[in-house]
Amino acid sequence: MTAIRRVLFNLFAWTVVLAVAFPLFWMIVTSVKPQSELFRRPPTFLPETVTFEHYWTLLTRTGFLDYFRNSVILSVATTLTVVAIATLGAYSLVRFRYRGRESLAFLVLFTYLLPSVVLIIPLYLMLVTLGVSNTIFSLVIAYTTFALPYALWLLRSFMAGIPEDLESAALVDGASRMGAFRDIILPQLLPGIISTALFTFILSWNEYLYALVLVNSDAARPLTTGVMSMLISAFNIEWSLLMAASVMMSVPLIVAFAFLQSYLTSGFGAGGVKG
């Protein structure tokens, strides 16, 4: 490739990349514009005055922090539950033999693809009957329906990638199965577990439908439905506030991106598209 072609190619590629990223740039820009500048026509590309008042309003005068706390509790609880169950389950599915194992693997895959809208009505009725609807706990149960198959499928694939000889050697040396699991498998599976945990966390963090149907109280409402309810108000639409909320809501993601990106990409491969 000659130098000029190389420059042209880079220019082209970066134009496309920036176009894709433009909505995110626009979100940040809007969030620091004062309300008066927002109603300006034509709009200003870069803010003439930079203000953080919307962030301040968001944190002090709305329920944002409560929603944020709920989202954190909810996503962490879901992730811990699901990853714990799925690690054991994946170990069993990959390294043990018993009747029904194949059918179970098939069931996992099937539920991995199942639309949540099919489960939502009976799940809703079930949680109502149990008297746990409208709590963070009920959302953890509901999120398990999509997070557990997902985590199992991911971990199953990571587990299959761990060579068996080390484990066999440990068994020959007299280690118990669980001992070998703890000392040999777990350390090797750790990157896979982190990757799975990240994906599960992000899935739970971003979930909307179950939160919409199962929770109607601010005490349990997560960010997705909480922020959306700021938009549908009859008295005002404050775009800059909504954009500030969007930025704040993406903070955990940005953190994950900054420090854990390789885990995110490796999870992709395991998610069913790896050759």
Partner: protein
Amino acid sequence: MSLTRSSSGGITRRGALKGLAATSALAALPIGARAQSATTLRWWSPQAAPAQLEAYQAQIASFEALHPGIKVVFEKTSDEGYAPQLAAAFASGDVPDVVTHLPSFSVQTYYANGLIEPFDEVIEAIGVDNYYPGANEVFRTPDGKHCATGIGNSAANALWVRRDLMADAGIGKIPETWDELRAACQAMQKGGIFGAPLPYGRNGMTSLIFIGFIHQAGGQVFTPDLQIALDSEATRNALEFYRSMRELCPPGATNYSWGESLTAFVSGATATGIYTGRVLVNVRDQNPGLADQITCATYPRIATDVAPWTFNDFASVFIPAQSKNKDAAKLFAAYIFDPPGYIKQLHAAPGHVLPVLRTIGENPAYLDNDIIRKYSAEVELMSAAAAGGYNLGYESAAHQSNAKAGEIIAAHPIADMVQRVVLNGDSMDAAIGDAVKAIDAIMKA
């Protein structure tokens, strides 16, 4: 299907579900995960602008000081979202204890399904004589009780205009007929400003506002004995006019509901507006440059011989029947009307929610407000219009109360009809015919 009675003899649906759940492994999970203090009241309202929230918090604080055993938690819902939220809440039995600012027709629908506690005790506690005469008529139920009381009136379809733009366009008087309104909007639509922010979305606002247009054309959705009367010349005229206004509304009006429509006028993007008195406080806060230019009138109609028709949602206060703290809820519901707190609440959006208590409307403390003083003519006009206002549950004084109105609004057949005619260019006959069918199905369900 009878909704209020549980099916006689046979197993009820809920029972069957319980049985199903009991056999599931989940039945073993801890049920007490949601341990709530016995006297926490949940208060829902779609009216939750920041200033209103502050007023509510003040009311809650003074109520809690008076009743140390009771805590009140406010939770907002929304005009377009309360129907599915409450449906889910009623189904789960985990309901709010006090709900305010929902339109009367929805409340009647819930009452007819046995979901609401009769409200007469609270009305007694507030004081029957303190109300304007007839203020609670709209909440009277077929069994002779009241399902709720009014927390405020509103003239939701007031016509808002800008004097500066009218003067620029050489328009001498505020439009009274549709033709005048259209001509005025055409004259004022220039330089990036649109004529009107009429809603064309598939939502409650479009249904509610368009019902107003049907009446402003001399028509009605139901006859007084609740036969569907939608298929009429008046509906066709209203659709025709509404269609002709499309080019005078912002492009995005196809998704407008209350918030978008209001913001379009307040930000100066449209020359006229259609909203309650909330316009006043929003203009003061967000676009004070317009404060001296705006005024309002009742919305124009097809001809001056048709009486104006103001849409008043008769914002309510009610208590769900499944509330576990009914006595505390009743105490609090009555306390909402305690003058200092209630006035603060009304002042959070002056002219938006208009008092239903005569004793408040005449109270010097209520009248002592910058906006109410500055716009006294507008507030008076809206008060009078709202007091004589109607809605789908109560289309005229002669109409029987329509217990299905809430479901009709929630299912959007009227907004669908508007969208099909205006946006899709479907034939009016087909669109009206399908709307009649959909409404009929709801009435018969």
